[in-house]
Amino acid sequence: MIDTLFFALVAAVAVVAAVAMVVARRAVHSALFLVVILFCVALLYLTLSAEFLAAVQIIVYAGAVMVLFLFVITLLNPAAEQQLADVRSHGIVAAVLAGVLLIEVAAVLRWGTLAGQPASFPPPAVPWSDNVQAIGEGLFTTGFLLPFELTSVLLIVAIVGATVLAKRRL
């Protein structure tokens, strides 16, 4: 019961924030509403006992990705509000795409299976386990040494690439 209430509350906040994000005149306000949505999604992950996913959602999306969004907004001209008017003409395309997505979600809920189990709402209860600890144990004890270290190489490529690009512009 309390789960359903919590879901309804978080989902309602997410939907209101999503509408506000689309309607907002200033791009910065849209970005801040997007932060609210991303936090709501993180809370929904928590209700599915996926606390690692919730933490990653907040760290990566509400943190890193939003920082990039806000930087892009400030690097462009943030005062140019009238440019947003052009976006309105894409409303029909957006509506069609949203409709297709809705049908897709409904189809997944109706016929989809996950690990052989039919999808359901509300989702079946998952026995609580410390899945952050399980992920840490799995990642650092069972043969993920090379992929893990390669991740740091990937990240160093990102740093070097950003530095080279920024230096060329100066």
């Binding site: 690097l75 943030p78 952050v132 270290e149 740093i159």
Partner: protein
């Protein structure tokens, strides 16, 4: 279904208290403070220079490097988090693994630093 909320109640409580800690003084202070403004008090800064123009300006593109470097170390945090939580179950091998990981990333930071990508001007 009934989710086992574990200790998340405490997290919610922390969140509530932290939010209240920031917002209650903001809401309360206009209600209880005396109200006799004068031009000097209304200035943006009590000391220092007045701002010129709007703050909605285009920022220097070089700052984007800070954002990108932040993103890289943000992703590093994601790996540190399960590592730190599971640390008690891991052996010295995991410690070396993480040291190599951070070491490689530090090379990147030193590179950006040496290339003066982190300068403010």
């Amino acid at each position: 279904m009934q989710t086992d909320w574990g200790n998340w109640g405490y997290v919610a409580l922390f969140l509530l208290i932290a939010t209240g800690f920031a917002f209650i003084p903001l809401v309360l202070s206009p209600l209880i403070r005396p109200r006799n403004p004068n031009p000097v008090k209304q200035a943006t800064y009590e000391c220092g220079i007045e701002t010129v123009g709007t703050s909605w300006i285009r920022y220097y593109a070089g700052f984007y490097v800070y954002a990108l470097v932040f993103v890289v170390f943000d992703v590093e945090t994601i790996f540190l988090y399960p590592w730190a939580v599971a640390f008690g179950l891991l052996n010295w091998f995991a410690l070396i693994e993480m040291a190599i990981f951070i070491g490689i990333l530090l090379v990147g930071l030193v590179y950006a630093w040496k290339k003066q990508a982190l300068r403010w001007w």
